[in-house]
Symmetry: C2
Subunit: 473 residues, 2 copies
Amino acid sequence: MKIDCIVKAPHIYTMKGEGVGYVYDEAIAIDRGKIIEINKQEEIEKLYSAEEVIDLQHHAVFPGFIDGHMHTALAILRGLAQDTQNWMMFGLQPFVQHTRKEDYLLGSKLGIMEGIKNGTTTIGDYGDPMEDVCDFVDRIGVRGNLTQTIREAKNKVYQPGELYEYDRERGEQSLKRNIALYDRWHRKKDGRIRVLFGPQGPDFVSEELLLQVQKEAKTRETKVHLHTQQGSRETEQMIKRYGKRTIPWLQEREYLDETLLAVHLTDATEEEAKIVAKSGASMVLCPGSIGIIDGIVPPSLVFQGAGGSVALGSDQAPGNNCHNIINEMKLVTLFNKIKYENPEVMPAWKALRMATIEGAKAVGVDDIVGSLESGKRGDLIAIDLGKTSMQPLFTHPMRNIVPNLVYSAGGEEVALSMVEGEVIYREGEFTKIKEKDELKNLEKQVQRIGKDAEEDFKAFSHIHRKFMEEGKL
Amino acid sequence: MKIDCIVKAPHIYTMKGEGVGYVYDEAIAIDRGKIIEINKQEEIEKLYSAEEVIDLQHHAVFPGFIDGHMHTALAILRGLAQDTQNWMMFGLQPFVQHTRKEDYLLGSKLGIMEGIKNGTTTIGDYGDPMEDVCDFVDRIGVRGNLTQTIREAKNKVYQPGELYEYDRERGEQSLKRNIALYDRWHRKKDGRIRVLFGPQGPDFVSEELLLQVQKEAKTRETKVHLHTQQGSRETEQMIKRYGKRTIPWLQEREYLDETLLAVHLTDATEEEAKIVAKSGASMVLCPGSIGIIDGIVPPSLVFQGAGGSVALGSDQAPGNNCHNIINEMKLVTLFNKIKYENPEVMPAWKALRMATIEGAKAVGVDDIVGSLESGKRGDLIAIDLGKTSMQPLFTHPMRNIVPNLVYSAGGEEVALSMVEGEVIYREGEFTKIKEKDELKNLEKQVQRIGKDAEEDFKAFSHIHRKFMEEGKL
């Protein structure tokens, strides 16, 4: 039978079953974007003849990583908002004021390319506007699980304890944009793009709008992607407005169910995390981001213990500084070992499952990706086992590939990335776009932002201004 | 004046003074291994004509990183000893039994090359035997601050609570080897190699030998590089043998002073850490290693607060999985933010100082390296600011280079590495050795170790055997 592609590799991690689904010396037959069979190399070569045979002799193949939650637009402000309390006000604020739509689009391009270079094949981006991001995701060939921000709170500098002021018109307009995005892109491009609904937080939209969003999402069989119990500021808003913390308040409104993708749970108690998990809702954990911004390790282990699915997310570059799921795998294991003072509590294979099949379940794409098996889409990456970080290779009596991927790799080991059976990235180059062309105005635009932000940086920046003055940056 | 080399770069971090010593568009004049001047590019070009001009147009230059504590030999067993309690017994033990001298040498080559690729120019290796490691350090051109292990405790499987049995002959022999190593290599090779004294721990050598080692080190004006209060097993041994915890016991014996380089302090109380710091002794912190192995964040901030110098260390590949000081910089900041639930407690620039000038002070090489200034050696690295992880570049009103290096970079950003004014690594290639030739027997030797270790893995491995059986590796 004539097919599009065969991928051969000595080590394939299918992620089928309860573990990592390792198979040795097999091949993956792919046709029209779908995996049609995985079997011994000689079997596959007997049954199929392919347009392209990718023979990976010193590589391990994994399902492409799922990044459950990203604000790629903010990559334009990478490295400007860490090491400070209230990173949004003291770090981002002076720059955000002067960052334009075209700057954010460059940020998204940078962040999406960075994710792909580090092995991500499903981009969980979240932002406003998203039309141009969808277009770039389409052009570069990656998978998108994309969310439009819905926000009703007015943009202004609120005093500590001041309740957010809602602008009904703004809220409705952003919901309309979310619906329009859904209509235009959802399950388009061979199903490569899906659109979720994105109320920014239970404190950023009114109860009425939050409930309406849930209805719209349910009608369309997609998820509500919601920052949930994301910090003490949210808790304060919820207590002041409704007299309740977020989780019990959402529970009373029947908001906790499989439609909900709850992001962060930074400030959730273990009991609250269990309630969310048991409801059927899923979670995105952004270890690096919440570690840098808040110094907190959210209760993902408790969430998983209660039966919930958890995806990893890289969040945003300023404040986390990188879009790299290999980095997030490492951090979720280390942070939990430290949280529980127990090296066994979070082994490498569990982090790999979060980056692949468990992550896919959490964000609602496990029907098509997250594992390598017949019927699923051909989304995979190849890790070069010849890189120093992966050397030496032990296969017996213990394989060290997964521990080395999680604890030693940095991202440059990703030699090839395929989405829907098409190679989109190989040995440092994108196949469908030219990186340099996409970023050609970057330097100029960044200089302009810096120049425009000078006054506000002086006025609002707290610790970074001091660091600049003291020669610490 | 005719000199050997000029290095030009838009961004140079000299690490002089209390901050990061940033200078813009300057050049470094280097002759016979030494920095002779750093000044504006046009000034340097007016004063000197150089054999080689390295014009780094899109790079930031830093002093090469100091790795204060490594067991590079163990890189031959990378990825075999994490995610388990008692990593030495359950992880390493089955393999160590079957690892030969020639295997360990390959491990050291791998670990040292990995360190250099990730920006390390001073290798703080610690092992036994060290002769061949010195030879490799010499050949590859890197700087070595090297320690021979001195051990008196017999190698055997001890029952829980059983006191280590000392073998006086073994202890004396290993001290003799340390002295021989010192005589042959210390301050040789243009001063590129220094030799320290390495009693393995206060529990692994007798009181008598420990005191003798200190005397030998003081006579020779070098340091005692000692695993100190490295865990509960050590505490147990010390209490049982001497009725005291390590730090007070060392203090009584006047062991705490500037000769001592105390590694880990995993199990030290904050009070004990302060005592060590105030004594003038320094510390090596291995964040990744102690995080993976013990789930502990040692008291380095308290140590620094009490005026002590702390170097970073990558320890060993099995159990930490990589030799990468960029990774350790990231982990020391994140772990402390989490330990104190405070994002401001450990900013990027402090980690950079630990990797450079503060680390150099701690391990006793700040007279020649750790900062870029006239009179010091030409040990530096260039970070490629064109890599995605370092993009975009902001220079005004805030520079984001240091936060991006610490929080976003992975290691592949190291474009060039120079030691004693000589380029030893450039764009992925070593200049003095051929990586492939050095590692040509790696695969064969690793297969042999795996085969030989099969029985012991079945007998001793705890969690990894289970993971292999359950398809989790």
